[in-house]
């Protein structure tokens, strides 16, 4: 991988340059939350943030979008406009989440809507420091080696810029007077020290590597009933989870005219009716069954199908579930008495 150095004071210039290459999005502070919003320049963004409300999935599988338009004569497929979107300031966990979505939507059968959005998306990562809700160290997604076009690690006076794709290299090459390849021994030492101090900042840890086994062995455990009783079936866990991708499809008719649209929208397996079939049979009528599906699928079953679990440790479920159902409380309940010793073992 090619690596460059970008002086900190040149970062705004680089962003100006990028704004000519596509629609620019970055982390914008709105009240006390951050979210990826369209921006024009550096000053609109705040790179010192923990987590945005939604991850990169909002660019890839937007919460609601039209897939078809139709009238009484014909059906037309609607694909997203082929404009380049450049997203800045993406943390490693969210890049890992895109890698997981890529597997699901592109590796087996290609989803044409996802594919066109993905092809037009440039990911510019940015280093971060954890808060108490970050568990990416446990999930092994605190560091990212690929899946981005560029990744910027913020050091004292400059950024180390990692190039992850030919698109990324092209962006650097066409603004090359901002960058240098002169990475000194001191720079390397500074980077390593930064990595070490970052990894020592994590406050929360879960025994992630034992998760598939403990879920399997606890399949019939009362733990799920306790969470099922608490769960509000609000679906916010799925909305904010950067890897939750289930969608529903609905047709809408314009009443005044003989035409309509077919829309896809994010769905959640915790919502009532998720497994309801025509005729009225519901395969998962109660909250216990649905919350169990959510966590077993994310933490265990995904491995069988896509080679890895679908939790990237971003801490969004920890931050947003109104009744404290999240990967941390789920693991505490499942591991129960051995939780503390397992946490230690997982970190060795």
């Amino acid at each position: 991988m090619k690596t460059y150095k970008l002086p900190k004071d040149k970062f705004p210039n680089f962003i100006n340059f990028l704004s000519n290459k596509g629609n620019l999005y970055g982390p914008v502070k709105q009240k006390d939350q951050h979210s990826f919003e369209q921006v024009n320049e550096y000053s609109e963004m705040d790179f010192n943030y923990q987590r945005t409300i939604l991850g990169i999935k909002k660019f890839l599988t937007p919460p609601r979008y039209i897939t078809q338009k139709f009238d009484s004569e014909s059906v037309e497929d609607i694909f997203p406009q082929s404009e380049t979107n450049i997203v800045l300031g993406i943390h490693p966990c969210d890049i890992h989440a895109v890698k997981i979505l890529d597997k699901l939507f592109l590796d087996n059968i290609k989803d044409p809507y996802y594919e066109s959005r993905r092809n037009n998306l440039i990911l510019v990562g940015h280093s971060c420091l954890p808060d108490k809700n970050c568990i990416c160290q446990s999930t092994g997604t605190d560091i990212v080696e690929d899946g981005f076009d560029l990744f910027l690690t913020e050091l004292e006076n400059h950024y180390l810029v990692w190039v992850g794709s030919s698109k990324g290299l092209y962006l650097i090459a066409s603004a090359e007077n901002l960058f240098s390849e002169d990475i000194t021994k001191e720079d390397i030492a500074e980077y390593i020290r930064w990595q070490k101090s970052r990894s020592e900042m994590f406050e929360t840890s879960i025994p992630f590597k034992y998760m598939p086994d403990i879920i399997h062995l606890n399949y019939d455990s009362d733990v799920w009933d306790e969470f099922g009783d608490k769960c509000l079936s609000c679906g916010v866990c799925s909305l904010v989870c950067p890897t939750c991708n289930c969608f529903n499809v609905e047709d809408k008719i314009v009443m005044s005219a003989d035409k309509g649209v077919r829309e896809r929208m994010l769905d959640s397996c915790t919502l009532p009716g998720y497994s309801l079939v025509a005729g009225g049979h519901d395969f998962r009528p109660n909250r216990t069954q649905r919350i169990k599906l959510y966590y077993t699928h994310k933490l265990k079953e995904y491995i069988g199908k896509w080679g890895q679990p679908a939790c990237v440790g971003c801490g969004r479920c920890v931050s947003y579930c109104p009744v404290d159902i999240n990967v941390v409380t789920i693991s505490q309940a499942l591991f129960s008495d051995v939780y503390e010793e397992m946490v230690c073992d997982n970190n060795e």
């Binding site: 059906v75 044409p112 289930c246 047709d251 025509a278 005729g279």
Partner: protein, 285 residues
């Protein structure tokens, strides 16, 4: 994605014309259709028994339906559709000659090659006759590929029994051994068995060769448990017991998530599962 890929993407549905319609029961209708484009008909005619297709009715929505015809007769597709929701209601309004869009085929289907040279016990309940009819017709068309074929079919009442004439015709031509039963016979003119479908096992039990038999079933969720019990009594190996399942589906290709059960998707890894899968994946039945 180039323009050609956009034209032939994975969600592309193709126009099909209704060739024939007839009521199979008071709430289930037979649809015989053919793709308007002969190339599509040829391509999509190569499905496996047990696979399904997704119908699209713009303005109403999409829904999956089991294919009821056999790939051995490639010039059309057949379906048996029960009126239970908004999409089926829209389908019921269509007439012969009308067109609607179909995409597919989806799902794993039955492994017909594996079943070659074996006895088959095919057990169906109610609407389960729809997907299993594909397998039955296939077995009749390739009769020399299979040994004894037993078909046990149950329905609530005589009015609920689908494809009854088809099945009895196969029986009369000695293509397969059919036993029919109904739970209730309100009119009192049912000429065959009365009772639950598991009672029909008495009629074949002493002739089942468990070393060389595949069992296949489809029916309401409640039926599986009892039929499996009978098959295990006959010592049919778990990996030779197949069943085809229903789940909510929005995409048919492993994207929308609704049909996930454990680590599998019913649309990609199913809808045909073995009893071994059922024991492994706790939520299947």
């Amino acid at each position: 994605m180039n323009n050609k890929e956009r034209k032939n993407h994975q969600y592309k549905a193709h126009s099909a014309e209704i060739l024939d319609l007839k009521d199979l029961s008071y709430d289930t209708r037979y649809f015989k259709v053919k793709f308007v484009d002969p190339n599509i008909q040829e391509k999509l005619g190569e499905y496996k028994p047990g696979q399904f297709a997704i119908f699209s009715i713009p303005g109403v929505g999409e829904a999956p339906f089991s294919i009821s015809s056999t790939p051995t007769r490639q010039s059309f597709l057949e379906f048996g559709i029960r009126k239970v929701g908004s999409i089926t209601e829209a389908l019921y309004k269509l007439k012969i000659g009308d067109k609607f869009d179909i995409r597919g085929p989806y799902g794993n289907g039955f492994e017909m090659d594996k079943m070659k040279d074996h006895d088959l016990i095919i057990v169906s309940g109610g609407l389960g006759a729809v997907p299993l009819r594909s397998l039955l017709l296939y077995a009749c068309d390739k009769r020399e590929d299979f040994k004894n074929v037993y078909f046990l079919n149950g329905a609530r009442t005589p009015e609920d029994m689908l494809f009854r004439e088809d099945f009895m015709a196969m029986h009369q031509r000695e293509m397969l051994e059919t036993h029919l039963t109904v739970d209730e016979d309100p009119k009192g003119d049912w000429p065959y068995h009365i009772g639950v479908v598991t009672k029909l096992f008495e009629k074949i039990a002493d002739r089942v060769n468990n070393k060389n038999t595949y069992a296949i079933m489809c029916g309401p969720p409640i039926m599986y448990k009892f039929v499996i019990k009978e098959l295990l009594k006959l010592k049919i190996p778990k990996e030779k017991i197949f069943m085809t399942l229903e789940r909510r589906m929005k995409c048919g290709q492993g994207h929308c998530g609704h049909c996930a059960i454990g680590g599998v998707y019913t649309c990609l890894d199913g809808p045909v599962f073995t009893y071994w899968d059922i024991e492994r994946l706790k939520e299947l039945i």
